[in-house]
Amino acid sequence: MAELNLTGRVVGIDLGTTNSLVAYMQGEAPVVIPGADGLNLVPSVVALDPVPAEGGRPTVTVGNTARRALIETPERVIYSVKRLMGRGLHEIQDELKLFPFRIAEDVEEGEVPRIQLGELKFTPPEISAYILRQLKRNAERFFGAPVTQAVITVPAYFNDAQRQATKDAGRMAGLEVLRLVNEPTAAALAYGLDRAKEGTIAVYDLGGGTFDISILKLRDGIFEVQSTNGDTHLGGDDIDNLLLAIALDEIYSEHGVDLRAHPGAVQALRKAAIDAKIALSTEQAARFDIELPNGDRYQREIPREVFEIMIEPVLNRTVGPCKQALTDAGITPEQIDEVVLVGGSTRIPAVRQLVDDLFHLSARSKRPHIELNPDEVVALGAAVQADILAGASKSTEELLLLDVTPLSLGIEALGGTVARIIQRNSTIPASATEHFTTGVEGQTNVAIHVVQGEREMAADCRSLARFDLRGIPPMSAGLPRIEVKFLIDADGILKVTAREQRSGQAAKIEVKPTYGLTDDQVESMILDSFDHAEEDFAKRLLIEARNEAETILSAVERAPRSPAWAVLTGEEQAAIAAARDRLQAVNLGEDAKAIRDATLALDQATRRFAELMMEAAVSTAIRGKTMDAADEDLGEAVTAPHPMARAEFK
C-alpha cells in the first residue's frame, strides 16, 4: 500500500450466495446501507445487457434489475456464483447440473473456470467483483464520498482457495479488503456489541447455500473462537430443491407433463415451493395450486408434519458438524451459555427444534437468540469488524476477534500420506516451520505439495498448492537443510517462505495454487478504473442523482392521468407541483446533493399518491391471473438462489 488511508470509511460486506449487503458503523450501532431502490438486500445476481446497437461492450447490471432479466434472457444472467468461488473444473461439474448457465468451452482442467455469459466469459471472482462494485457504489451514493476499504465475510468453512478468490474479487472491484471475517464470527460480533457478557456461545448459521457452526468464548471484549465446523454445500437451497423435485415428479406421474421443458413453469413452481417453505414456518399447512401448460391443475397440500419428515435428512446433516465442534472445543452442550441463530433457514421451526435438542436449551430454560434479522446480522457484524480495523471509534476499541483456521494444513509425505503441520481450530495467524532436504546427489529442486483437510491420504484432501523450491546449492544428498515457513494469516490464507540454511541462500519458491488466479490475471481483471478518480466520482454522483430525478419527474408528469390523482386533495396536488418545480429548477444545476434532496422532497410529497396507485394495482392484479403473468411477477419477490434451476429426477 503506497499511501495510508486514515480517513476513509471502512464498510462491512456480506457477500452472500443469495443476497449481498453492505453495512457501516453509525455511531455506536451498525446499520445496513440501502441501495438506490431503498432495499437493504442486493440479490447476488449479475446480468449482461444486450450488446449496444452502436457496438462496444455490453453493460453489466446487478441485483433486482439483473434478476428481472432472468426471465427474458436467462443465458445472460448468473446467480449463486459463491458456490463456484475458488473451485476447480471437476469440482463444479455436479454443481452445474443445478444451474442453467454453462462453462465456456475452451476451459481446461487446472484453469479457473470461466462462465459463458452471452458472448462474454467471466471467472467467478469477476462476477463477484460486479456484485461488490454495486455494493461499493451503494455505499458511495449513501456517503457521498468514495469508499475504498472493506471487510468481507466468508463462510467459516471456506478453504484457502475460496478465501483467496473472494479477496481477488474485492481487488477487482477496486476495494482493498482489510480483512476476511468468518460469517458466524461476524454474527457473534453483532450480538456481542451491546452486551458486556462473558461465557461460551454457539453460532448456528444455516444460510441459502452453506452451513457453519462456531463455538466462541467471550471474555472482556475478546471473542475467542474455540472451534468451527460446517458444510459449504448445505442450506435452504437443498430444501427448495427437494420440494421442487417432488412436485416435478408428481406432475410428471399424475399429469404426464414434463415441466422441465418449460423453464418459465419450473421457475413458477420453484417460487411456489419457496413460498410453501416460508409459509410452513408459520402455518400448519401450505398448498400448491399451479396451472399446468396442458390446462390441468396441480393441487397439493403439504401439512407441516409431512414437510418436517421430508426435510429431516437435510437438517440432520448439521448434527455431525455441531457435535464435532463441541468435541473440538472440549465442551459438552450444557457448557454452551448462549446460542445465536443466523441465516434465513433458521426461521424453520424444525431447525429451531433441532438446535434446542442439540444444545439442551429448553431443558435449561434457555432460548436461542433471534433478536437481530438473520438476513442482516452477518453484514452488521462485518461493519463492527470494519470499525475495529478503522480503529477510530470508542465503541469498538475494546473488542478483538481471535478466529481459527477451519481445516488442518498438511504436506504430502512419502506414500501419499499427510503430515499435518497446522491443526484445524488453531488460532490465526498461525505458523509452522518444516525442514526439507534432497534425496539425490546435486539435486537443486524440491517439490512440496500442500493440502488442506482432515483425511489421512493427501489424495482425499483438498490440494492447495504445489511449491517448487528452486536454486538449492548442489550438495550431497540429504545435506541441504531447507527451512520452509508456513504462515496462515488473519484472513485464513496461507503464505510460504523458504531458506536454505547451510548456504544461507533464500531458496526461490514458485507457488502454483491448484486453483486460483495469478497476480497478473487479477490485475488484468480489475473492473474499469473510473471508480478511483475523485473527479469521475463527482461526475458519477451527479449522473446518478439526475437519473433518479428524471425517473420521479416523468412519473409525476404522468400522474394526473391516473384515477388515483383525483382522489388527492387540492392541497396535496399543489404540494406535489411545488416540489416538482423545485426539483426541475435544481436539476439544471451541477449540485448533486441539491438534486438528491429535492428528489427526496418530491418523493415525500407523492407518498400518498403512490400508496393509492399501489392499492389500485393490487386489486387489478388479483383478477384473472395466468401462468404467464405469474411468471412475470416473480421478478421482485423471488429470493431463491436458483430461480431457473432444473431439478434432477432421481
Binding site: R179, I222, L389, A390, V418, A430, S431, E456, D489
Partner: protein, 233 residues
C-alpha cells in the same frame, strides 16, 4: 512482561532509532511495534521453562498481548508494521496453543531440552501399531487379544452381523485402556513436579521417564482410537 528476546546487544528501533537494551515487541521510547526475534515459546510469555503452568494467568497474558499485537490493530499501519504484527501474533498464537495443552507443552519442552521424541504422524503411526517391537512389553498379550477382536468385529460389520458379546468385550477393553491412559497422565504429572523442582541429574532422569511415558501414551491412545473407530463404524 513483553520481553521476548534474551539478548544484551542493544537494538536500534527502526522508527525512532533510539537503541534499547531491553528488547521488547514495542519500542520503549516511541512505542512502535518491533520485529520478533527468535526465542522459545516460554520466552514469549516471559516464563521460565517448566512443565507446570498457571493456565488462568497464561490466558490473561495471551489476551493482553493479543490486544496489542493483533493484525486488527495494524490494519491501516505501514506495510512493515503489518508484517511484524502478523509475525509477532503468529508466534504468540503458536506459543499459546502449545503451552496451554499439557501434552503439547510436555513434548515441546522435552524437545527444547534435547530429548528425542517419536514422530507424530498419522500414516506412520498406523504402520507402527502393527509392529510387535513397538508394543509395550506388559501389554503384549492384551494387545494381541484386542487386535483379534477388532479384526473379528470388522468382519462382522462387513457381513452386516451384530455381535453383542464381542461389542461388550470391546467396550470393556476400551475402558481398560482408557484407565491405563489416565494412569500414564498421572505419572507424567508426577514427573513434571520432579523436573520443575529438581537439579540437573533429577531432570535428566525425569526427561527419560517422560519420553518413555509419551511413547506409551501415544500407543495407548492409538489403540483407544482404533477401538472407538471400529465400534462407531
Amino acid at each position: 512482561m513483553l520481553k521476548v528476546i534474551d539478548t544484551a546487544v542493544p537494538i536500534a528501533c527502526w522508527s525512532c532509532s533510539v537503541a534499547h537494551n531491553d528488547s521488547t515487541l514495542f519500542c520503549p521510547h516511541c512505542s512502535k511495534i518491533q520485529p520478533a526475534a527468535a526465542g522459545d515459546f516460554f520466552q514469549v510469555f516471559s516464563l521460565d521453562r517448566g512443565f507446570q503452568i498457571d493456565l488462568a494467568a497464561l490466558e490473561t497474558e495471551f489476551h493482553r498481548m493479543s490486544r496489542k499485537l493483533h493484525p486488527d490493530r495494524f490494519a491501516r499501519a505501514t506495510e512493515q508494521e503489518r508484517e511484524w504484527s502478523l509475525a509477532d501474533t503468529a508466534l504468540l498464537n503458536d506459543a499459546y496453543r502449545t503451552l496451554k495443552d499439557p501434552l503439547h507443552r510436555t513434548e515441546y519442552l522435552l524437545k527444547l531440552e534435547g530429548a528425542e521424541i517419536g514422530e507424530e504422524h498419522a500414516g506412520k503411526d498406523r504402520k507402527n501399531q502393527q509392529d510387535p517391537s513397538r508394543v509395550p512389553a506388559d501389554l503384549l498379550e492384551e494387545v494381541f487379544e484386542l487386535n483379534m477382536q477388532l479384526e473379528e468385529m470388522r468382519m462382522a460389520r462387513k457381513m452386516g452381523e451384530e455381535d453383542p458379546a464381542l461389542q461388550a468385550d470391546l467396550e470393556q477393553a476400551r475402558k481398560k485402556f482408557e484407565g491405563l491412559l489416565a494412569t500414564v497422565d498421572e505419572d507424567l504429572r508426577a514427573q513434571w513436579q520432579v523436573w520443575d523442582a529438581g537439579d540437573t541429574t533429577a531432570r535428566q532422569a525425569a526427561q527419560k521417564t517422560m519420553v518413555a511415558l509419551l511413547d506409551r501414551r501415544r500407543y495407548l491412545s492409538n489403540l483407544v482410537r482404533d477401538v472407538t473407530e471400529t465400534l462407531g463404524a
